[in-house]
């Protein structure tokens, strides 16, 4: 075990222990009210985690930070609205079509806007993703208008009681999707040849192309997966947070924070970062005047970055000469 690994594990335990102390304190001090905050935090945190995972997938394969990731999530919600609320399709079919359509869109955007820049620097591509986000948002405004829209909950709105706290059934769908997504993404990048090759392609494109994974393929697959995860997230959270053409900006910001907190490029890190951010936000909103919620969440982010710039689960960047 290298020195860096041991430090990393120690820091991770430290952070987890800190959050655990906060959670236990909240539960003892506030009882079922505290549990309510934590359940809300886990729901909000899962939403952040799903968006964060999209950032991680593209980053770990191409080193690009895709600022249009929140827009995929927005598109997922709006597609569900069009197909199910307007079009009357059953939810499961609407969900599958939504993920399919947005995945194709993601692949299309990659071929149209990102692929032609294959010889440009990473920073150029990142700036193009900002432009892409603005483009998608304007398109969505043109298609769907400016009013937020409603998508029906998958399994009704009757809240489930749980030790004096309550949770809407849709939250369980969000938890479930988060779990499935993180397992699939993690398995893809660590157990399949294509996934491993894509991670290699990010570090050394020429060597990776020798084993059959070109940087071009890698980028296309990564964007498709990120779009699929984003769309699935958008479809599942739409009944909770109301889909709207401009929802992507906020989701992108919080999701990016979660991704950085967990360590960019790690799918489990994205989940840890998202859940931590969500839970701490909601506990802060409960204890402190609620206006400080975002301030505290971002303060934690800044502290983590100062102590550990690569995030909680990220690997330190090796500089080889």
């Amino acid at each position: 075990m290298r020195m860096g690994d041991r430090n990393q594990v120690r820091l991770l335990w430290g952070a987890a222990a800190l959050v655990a102390v906060v959670v236990v304190f909240t539960l003892i001090y506030k009882g079922s009210t505290g549990l309510q905050w934590i359940l809300s935090g886990l729901t909000v945190g899962s939403i952040y985690a799903l968006v964060a995972m999209g950032f991680s997938v593209i980053y770990s394969s191409t080193r690009v930070i895709n600022f249009a990731q929140g827009e995929f999530t927005m598109l997922g919600g709006m597609m569900m609205f069009t197909l199910c609320t307007r079009g009357g399709l059953p939810l499961w079919l609407g969900f599958l079509l939504t993920v399919g359509i947005v995945t194709l869109l993601g692949a299309g955007f990659e071929r149209a806007a990102i692929h032609p820049l294959k010889d440009q620097s990473v920073i150029t591509v990142i700036i193009v993703t900002i432009g892409l986000a603005i483009f998608i948002r304007a398109l969505a405004k043109w298609i769907w208008g400016t009013d937020p829209v409603k998508v029906a909950s998958f399994t009704g709105d009757k809240p489930l009681r749980f030790f004096g706290a309550s949770i809407v059934p849709q939250s369980l769908w969000v938890f479930g999707l988060t779990l499935i997504a993180v397992v699939l993404v993690f398995a893809f990048f660590n157990r399949t040849l294509l996934g491993k090759g894509m991670r290699a392609a990010a570090d050394n494109p020429d060597a990776a192309s020798l084993v059959g994974v070109s940087a071009s393929t890698s980028s296309l697959v990564a964007w498709s997966i990120a779009a699929a995860v984003g769309a699935a997230a958008g479809a599942v959270i739409a009944p909770i947070n109301f889909a709207a053409y401009d929802a992507g900006a906020m989701l992108g910001l919080k999701g990016f924070s979660a991704a950085v907190l967990g360590g960019l490029g790690s799918a489990p890190g994205a989940v840890v970062g998202g859940l931590m951010l969500g839970v701490l936000e909601m506990i802060t909103a409960g204890f402190a005047p609620s206006g400080y919620k975002d301030a505290v969440a971002f303060l934690i982010l800044i502290l983590v970055l100062l102590i550990r710039p690569q995030g909680l689960l990220g690997k330190p960047a090796d500089v080889k000469v």
């Binding site: 809300s40 909000v44 405004k141």
Partner: protein, 393 residues
């Protein structure tokens, strides 16, 4: 050959058009716009995109409808009327740029706008320095307090809505303890601050005053804090979708205290978003939302009925209060130009002298010390019952 045909066909075609135009204008006499007269230009800066777009879009719809209705008749004293509409993208800086452009380059004689308080306040200095009358569609109290000679307003103010809510709390609900949950934006903070300041004068104690972010998706922590206080009612000050999330979260937590919203949820979107959780929610809104709340046969009721029919025909959906703000702003200015003239000074004097003008939001009365036009009597309390609006008497 083709050239030859063109040589004699073109003059004949032109001649036909000329004859048709002359006959057309003769037939209807004074009921038509006289195209030889100059066009009266009125500028409008509205939020057609950005967060305030749901306000600016219906305002624009109304102005376009008013323009075509006026020009289908005699215009303003035979002059064609043109509303030149600019988008401020819900951005105060762009609103300043847009009003400057309209006044200096388009040479408009009066101004309308903007949709939100922030953008309107950014336009005030330009209107004042160019001595141009500005009729705004925003509800923030600060716009007309203190009174500025050139700035007028169409919607009921936030203060009027707050007075209406306080009257409902003390009169109908007999509440003595309330909690406030407001959006952290300018609209929410302004409303909550004024509400918290006025409540004690009505014998009401504020047990909790909490806020949420405009894009937040879960307000249960704030609600559990409110649950722990003896509040008998919750007043939510914000615009969609926040209040809809709060209504759903209250249902989730099985909170039974009444939900009183602001005039920011006086639209069908709130009912669509909150679904069954919207039932029982009460809020202050304009009479025009429930036309039957206005005495039948009065000029106001007739105006509202005609406006609702025309708007629904033109745009496929019923008008909301924002559509009414836009229509009234246009009507106030064109009426002033009809009676007084089109110099900037004449318009200012005529608008300020407006008395008993029948609008859609209400009956407008301006004076040198009152540029608000309406009073809290022009608002009603509305309750959502089975997904539909009913007036609370």
């Amino acid at each position: 050959m083709a050239q030859k045909i063109l040589r004699w066909k073109l003059p004949i075609a032109l001649f036909c058009v000329l004859v048709a135009a002359t006959l057309g204008s003769m037939g209807c006499g004074t009921q038509k716009v006289d195209t030889s007269k100059s066009v009266y230009k009125i500028g409008a800066v509205l939020s057609l995109s950005g967060p305030a777009a749901p306000l600016g879009q219906p305002e624009q719809n109304s102005l376009k409808m008013l323009e075509s209705q006026l020009n289908a008749g005699a215009g303003v004293n035979g002059h064609k009327v043109q509303f030149i509409i600019e988008d401020d993208q819900s951005d105060p800086a762009k609103a300043t740029a847009a009003i400057t452009l309209l006044i200096n380059q388009e040479g408009v004689s009066a101004m309308i706008g903007s949709s939100s308080t922030g953008a309107t306040l950014a336009m005030v200095p330009v209107a004042q320095s160019t001595q141009t009358t500005l009729v705004c569609c925003a509800a923030g109290t600060a716009i007309t307090k203190p009174v500025n000679k050139y700035i007028f307003r169409t919607p009921p103010t936030d203060s009027m809505a707050i007075d209406k809510v306080l009257g409902y709390l003390t009169g109908t609900l007999k509440a003595t303890k309330i909690a406030i949950l407001h959006d952290a934006n300018a609209y929410g903070v302004g409303g909550a601050t004024e509400l918290a300041a006025k409540a004690p004068t009505k014998g009401i104690t504020v047990t909790a005053n909490e806020s949420y972010g405009t894009t937040d998706t879960d307000m249960t922590p704030q609600l559990t804090k409110i649950q722990a206080t003896p509040a008998q009612a919750l007043v939510v000050w914000g615009t969609n979708p926040g209040p809809a999330t709060i209504a759903k979260n209250m249902q989730q937590l099985a909170m039974k205290i009444p939900f009183i919203g602001s005039n920011g949820i006086a639209n069908k979107t709130f009912i669509t978003l909150a679904g069954s959780a919207a039932n029982g929610v009460a809020f202050p809104g304009g009479n025009m939302l429930i036309p039957s709340s206005i005495t039948a046969g009065t000029p106001w009721r007739n105006a509202v009925d005609k406006f609702t029919t025309d708007y629904t025909t033109a745009y496929g959906k019923a008008p909301d209060t924002f559509a009414a703000h836009g229509w009234d702003a246009g009507t106030i200015l064109t009426t002033a130009m009809k009676t007084a003239g089109t110099s900037k000074a004449q318009i200012q004097t005529a608008v300020q002298a407006t008395k008993g003008l029948v609008g859609i939001d209400g009956i407008y009365n301006y004076s040198a010390t009152n540029h608000d036009g309406l009073t809290s009597a022009d608002l009603i309390m509305i309750k959502i019952v089975n997904g539909a609006w009913t007036q609370i008497k």
